[in-house]
């Protein structure tokens, strides 16, 4: 057995337990959730005064629905994860490595090969997979082949202290399975990113890992299938010869993968120190060549074991703060993310609507006055004619006022159709003293020229007054709504900041622990 392999297998047996007290950060996380709920309850959106069919009211109703939905999802997720939590406890204390990569990255053959090596060292090897939500143990190694497509979550326990986890594409799994997969990802302490030497470093795959990496887990890129077949034609036959890719070739590929992975991590906002130097291996060559010390070295496994040993310290640091990471994850994913992803954009959309409604109000106000004016005034000459005989101005006024109130209310409701409007308080039509029909002589028809002018001005003044009142009401209502929306937006931002602070506090712990 080779040196680095020995060292790694030995160190796996001595990982021990962390001693940091997570209680303060755990209770701070619980307090955060309670404070958030309280803050929202204390700052509701004022709901009255808008027509339920109006865009603003519909958005508010949708916001309300969404909040109820979020609360239900949060609860359901927590309950659905209960069996997963129980299952995960089984591996508590063990070091868990997530083996991540595309279906053709050679995950199965690497896992099987490592298991075989542990077994040869008289270490226990136990395969398992997830079936109908339960963990099933099995003796069969993972299926290998050119067309392997892992559709289930599977893994293998190596010795006392190590678990390799192989998940189907993180986004491909659905429903219950997705939640369970997620739970196992929480448990992983480090990530091996397997990328085929045929097309190495397709860094867009790392998008799926972004969240795990942001938790400070170390990432080790492994270039698999680092082998090549040389061919020649001898005596009318094609002769094949399998060999490792050359050291220079490997160094070239590793440098390229490292450079592009570094770019990618930077764009994902992940600290560069988490990225470990890539290593190239060929399980195929190692196996074919008999897996002796020389074959292992040539196929790249000594370097892989050395890299895995280096991975232990940061991986254990994550393991020791895992309970807090799990709760933090739940709060980020099930509480904050929907608030930021759904509620916040909805609030912004609502506020934009309210603002544009506010900006449109002066024009709407003018429009109402104009429409009512055009409706009321054309009837005035006939009204004046009708009462010219009696000269009864009071009747003219009463009739005019009725038609004015009617026209105003009708047009106000039509123009301000987002608002619930109460019936406007009647406004009296006031005439200057002495206004009335003028008679120059008994045998002449009376003149109503001045009366008409006075009535016109009075009608206009009344309409302006009515419009001012209704526009004032609407403005106050919309401004109050806009303020309430601002308060809620600030709440989300504020709690996002606070959770980020808690995250920083939590991630600071491992440095002290790593030094132990």
């Amino acid at each position: 057995m080779s040196r680095e392999e020995q060292r790694f297998i030995d160190s796996i047996g001595r990982t021990g337990q962390g001693e940091a007290d997570l209680q303060p950060v755990l209770s701070a996380l619980r307090d955060w959730l309670a404070a958030l709920a309280q803050a929202f309850e204390a700052a509701p959106l004022p709901a009255s005064g808008l027509q339920s069919a109006s865009p603003m009211a519909r958005r508010m109703a949708a916001l309300h629905e969404e909040r109820i939905h979020q609360a239900r999802c949060r609860e359901e997720q927590w309950i659905a994860l209960a069996p997963a939590r129980a299952l995960a406890q089984r591996f508590e204390g063990k070091l868990m490595l997530l083996v991540f990569g595309k279906f053709n990255a050679g995950k199965s053959s690497l896992c099987n090969f490592l298991a075989q090596r542990f077994r040869e060292r008289q270490q226990a090897v136990q395969y398992f997979h997830l079936q109908d939500g339960a963990l099933v143990e099995s003796e069969d190694p993972f299926h290998e082949g050119a067309t392997e497509t892992t559709a289930r979550l599977q893994g293998v326990c190596l010795g006392d202290g190590l678990v390799l986890l192989d998940t189907p594409g993180l986004h491909s799994s659905t429903g219950e399975n997705a939640a369970l997969t997620q739970r196992f990802l929480d448990s992983a302490d480090a990530v091996l990113w397997l990328t085929s030497s045929t097309s190495p470093g397709q860094v867009q795959e790392l998008d799926e890992l972004a969240r795990e990496l942001r938790r400070g887990k170390p990432l080790l890129p492994v270039l698999t299938r680092s082998d090549v077949i040389d061919e020649d034609e001898v005596d009318g036959r094609i002769v094949k010869c399998l060999r490792n890719k050359s050291d220079a070739n490997r160094a070239d590929q590793e440098a390229d993968v490292r450079a592009r992975a570094a770019d990618k991590l930077q764009s994902l906002g992940v600290a560069l120190h988490q990225l470990k130097a890539p290593v190239s291996v060929s399980a195929y060559v190692a196996r074919t060549a008999g897996a002796d010390a020389e074959a292992m070295r040539g196929a790249g496994f000594e370097r892989l074991y050395a890299a895995l040993s280096d991975l232990l310290a940061p991986a254990l640091a994550y393991r020791d703060r895992k309970p807090a990471e799990v709760l933090l994850h739940h709060l980020q994913e099930a509480v904050l993310a929907p608030l930021q992803g759904q509620t916040l954009p909805a609030l912004r959309g609502l506020q934009q609507l309210v603002q544009s409604e506010l900006q449109a109000l002066p024009a709407s106000r003018a429009r109402i006055v104009q429409l009512a004016w055009r409706e009321v005034m054309p009837g005035l000459p006939a009204l004046l004619e009708q009462h010219a005989g009696t000269g009864d101005v009071d009747t003219v006024l009463a009739s005019l006022q009725a038609s004015l109130m009617h026209a105003f209310e009708r047009h106000a409701r039509a123009v301000l159709d987002s608002h619930v409007l109460s019936a406007p308080a009647p406004v009296a039509l006031v005439l200057p003293a002495g206004s009335g029909y003028e008679r120059i002589a008994d045998d002449l028809p009376p003149s109503y020229e001045k009366l008409y002018e006075a009535l016109s001005q009075s009608v206009l003044a009344a309409l302006e007054q009515l419009a001012d009142e209704v526009a004032g009401h609407c403005t106050a209502r919309l401004a109050a709504l806009s303020d309430a929306v601002s308060v809620q937006r600030a709440l989300v931002d504020e709690h996002g900041r606070r959770l980020a602070q808690l995250e920083d506090t939590l991630r600071c712990v491992p440095e002290g622990m790593a030094a132990r």
Binding site: T198, Q204, D232, M377, E385
Partner: protein, 423 residues
């Protein structure tokens, strides 16, 4: 830009102005306009799947750079054997996004034939490859641009059985696909070492022969694609034009209807005013209204005062009746350009009738004689058309007309492009 594009681009931008979604189609037509241009063969696929190596072998010369890692990041181009060869950047979106636009350009804009490359060792196709293949297949059905699926690096399979497995798996993923297995390495060794089996099993001679057939079909495919794109764009322009025309017609009908309503109402009001004023204007004999009062008459109701009052009352009622009609149709105030500093004078009534009319003869002339009536009608109609609502409607119609003109220009530009102008 080549010289012929000087005439293509201005015409194309006329078209683009009305169908902005057709930018890609027009760009492709711009490429197709160069009828004499050599057929373009573009190699697409993930990086490191042997694209550059394949091109080198197909052309029989080392033109494209080869390395066992990501290499092709720009659009490499080479002319050989009356063909234009393009090596598109890898299919994978990477941190540097500009690669993607190069790939777009090579795959969708420039290509007449695509070689889709996939390394045998990678096994099945992944999601990105399947999506691209699907898109290429749909494009082939539409434009007749062919895509050949080339399975590369078959020498890296441990034996024929492995190769058969991979081929079967890929065929299961895309049943309509024909696989052309090749090995650039075998071809190179076969050529350099004079080894016939390697040469034959490289698949390269077979692919070259196939490519010759496919390239021969390029001129026909280009004609088809050109016709197709022109027809599709033309249909879209015509459809939009029809929609605009019907919208415009609705507006014009509304414009006509409103004017008719206003005119009929005005006619009725003026007729009523005419009838109301008849007894006043048909006064017989000497008109006391024309006899001026003396200082002694100051507090007396003289016959002159009485008649003048009668005239004024009748006139003011006529004005109020007309004004009611104007208010109803939103024709009260003067247009901004005609406004004075005295708001009470800024009305259509003052503009048309002046401050007041004092004499019977004037009343008769203006309200009761055909010439006066016609003049009034004309003046009110003039201000009616200048009113705010009418102007807004007129504006809407003008915008619609401008759009319609743009479409007509686009149609003509498209016809000229189709006839070969700019080619």
């Amino acid at each position: 830009m080549t010289p012929q594009h000087h005439s293509f681009d201005p015409l194309a931008s006329e078209v683009l102005a009305v169908v902005p979604g057709r930018a890609h189609d027009l760009a492709r037509l711009r490429v197709l306009a160069q009828v004499q241009a050599a057929p373009t063969v573009t190699v697409v696929g993930k990086y490191n799947h042997g694209k550059s190596r394949l091109l080198n072998e197909l052309m029989g010369r080392d033109v494209f750079a080869v390395a066992d890692r990501r290499e092709t990041v720009t659009l490499s181009e080479h002319h050989h054997a009356e063909l234009r060869w393009l090596d598109a950047p890898g299919l994978d979106a990477d941190v540097a996004l500009q690669d993607d636009s190069h790939a777009q350009e090579a795959t969708w804009l420039q290509a007449d034939v695509r070689l889709f490359v996939h390394a045998a060792k990678e096994g099945e196709l992944d999601a990105a490859e399947r999506h691209l293949l699907q898109a290429l297949r749909e494009d082939q059905q539409r434009t007749r641009r062919q895509t050949l699926f080339v399975l590369t690096q078959v020498d890296q399979m441990s034996d024929e059985e492995q190769l058969a497995k991979v081929s079967a798996a890929i065929s299961a993923q895309a049943p309509e696909l024909t696989l052309y297995p090749v090995s650039s390495t075998r071809h190179r060794s076969g050529v350099e070492g004079g080894k016939s089996l390697l040469l034959q099993r490289s698949g390269i001679p077979a692919l070259q022969a196939l490519l010759r057939d496919v390239v021969e079909q390029v001129p026909g495919a280009r004609r088809h694609e050109r016709n197709l794109l022109f027809t599709e764009i033309g249909q879209q322009v015509r459809q939009q034009q029809a929609a605009l025309e019907s919208g415009l017609q609705t507006l014009r009908q509304r414009q006509q209807q409103q004017r008719q309503d206003f005119e009929q109402g005005l006619q009725a009001v003026l007729e009523k005013v005419h009838q109301d004023l008849l007894p006043i204007v048909e006064f017989q004999g000497d008109d006391p209204a024309l006899v001026p009062d003396t200082a002694a008459d100051e507090f007396k109701l003289t016959a002159g005062k009485r008649e003048r009052a009668r005239i004024h009352v009748a006139y003011s009622r006529a004005c109020i009746a007309i004004r009611a009609h104007l208010i109803q149709h939103g024709v009260e105030g003067l247009p901004a350009s005609q406004q004075t500093s005295v708001a009470s004078l800024d009305t259509v009534m003052v503009a048309v009738l002046g401050i007041s009319i004092k004499y019977r003869a004037d009343l008769r002339r203006r309200f009761c004689e055909p010439a006066g009536q016609a003049q009034l009608k004309e003046a009110f109609l003039h201000y009616y058309e200048l009113s705010e609502d009418r102007q807004a409607l007129q504006q809407q119609i003008a915008i619609g007309q401008a759009e319609l003109h743009a479409h007509e220009r686009a149609r003509q530009a498209l016809a000229r492009l189709r006839e070969g102008e700019g080619a």
